[in-house]
Symmetry: C2
Subunit: 195 residues, 2 copies
DNA sequence: GACATTTTGTACTGAGTGTTCTAAAATGAG
DNA sequence: CTCATTTTAGAACACTCAGTACAAAATGTC
């Protein structure tokens, strides 16, 4: 057999992810990545063959943990509306907890636009996952009577997803928690049945 | 007197702005800026003393034209609600027109976060201007009965502004016009009076 | 212990970065 | 025309960038 790695690959990906998350792709140098992960250049290029490939790994990792925590938040309440509310409030709380760094996917979308195929694919995959998750819970809310039935669940999911992006941008811009909670509250009310 | 400039400074700023808008700050090299503006390196550094200073000029320029077109859209309808609708629909139309490049301010917010003081100040100024504009029209809508009175106009403005950011991110991510119109429509309905 | 294999540390590469320097060219005032 | 002033063109600058070459170090197997 061969010499074993001295580090945990997933842990390294997570460190790199945080570096990209804080400063963006272009502004994060390979040197920064070495320092963030604690690896030498050789190890970085040996395990993840390029900066861009490492970024893709970081996006994938982010997507996994993001979908997981989002799903947990959505499961933390009874009615459909309350579940959506819990997810939005959780997003705000998360932003406060990590100092308003926004969402890696949103930041990547803004930085790359549709100039990068691989990044675009990751963003599409993430969006589809989030929308599928949201649509299910919104449909449940329409069934239990807490969410308006006059609009397609998929459309409302799109709206909620856009609201999350808006909140992420607000946060990254430095908005305070109260403003974000206000926006989240109005968005939740928009889902209520029209009496 | 001295030798006159061979180019229009504002026009150069606009070209630089478009370069930054398309590709972001870091990914736009000084070489790119020379090609975009048609100027030589000397002229660029002579008139705008650094890449960063030129970016600040670009942000300022964007802010001016952005606020202007936004104000025009808001004035293009009768009732308060219709004015907000016109602004959101206009945003969607603008995105289609320019191929989904999003908003320079949103992109800058995502790229810089709160790491850059000058950029942060420009973003704060822009946000305040947009919110002030929106708040006025929303207040008018509350007066003419087309917008809900149970919430503060400033809060609703914050919501609409966040929705615009969300739409910009959607667009930059490659979303289609129908999805964006759907989101805009739901946001407008959220402003309606609760019967 | 010798070997095949893989990781690691260090030095290096060539290209590209933002910025500056120098000197020629272009202007209007005196 | 002369001169001070400013813009231009283009080379040059120091530095950083992402990525590589290479040899030493570390493993399990034989």
């Amino acid at each position: 057999m061969a010499r074993p790695k001295e580090f945990d690959e997933e842990r390294a990906v997570e460190s790199a992810m945080n570096a990209f998350w804080d400063n963006g792709y272009e502004a994060t140098s390979t040197q920064d990545l070495c320092e963030a992960t604690g690896l030498g250049r050789s190890s970085v290029y040996n395990t993840f063959k390029s900066k861009h490939a490492l970024f893709e790994r970081a996006l994938k990792h982010y997507r996994a943990i993001g979908l997981h925590t989002r799903a947990e938040l959505l499961d933390s309440a009874e009615t459909g509306l309350d579940r959506v509310r819990a997810m939005l409030d959780g997003t705000v709380a998360e932003e406060r907890a990590n100092g308003g760094r926004g969402c890696l996917m949103v930041n990547a979308a803004a930085e790359f636009g549709h100039h990068d195929e691989a990044v675009g694919a990751a963003m599409r995959a993430d969006t589809e996952g989030q929308l599928a998750l949201l649509t299910g819970h919104i449909r449940a809310g329409q069934a239990d009577g807490t969410i308006d039935r006059h609009r397609a669940a998929a459309d409302l999911a799109q709206f909620v997803h856009a609201t999350v992006s808006g909140l992420r941008i607000m946060s990254r811009r430095g908005a305070g928690e109260p403003e974000m909670r206000t926006v989240a509250g109005i968005a939740v009310d928009a889902l209520r049945p029209r009496t």
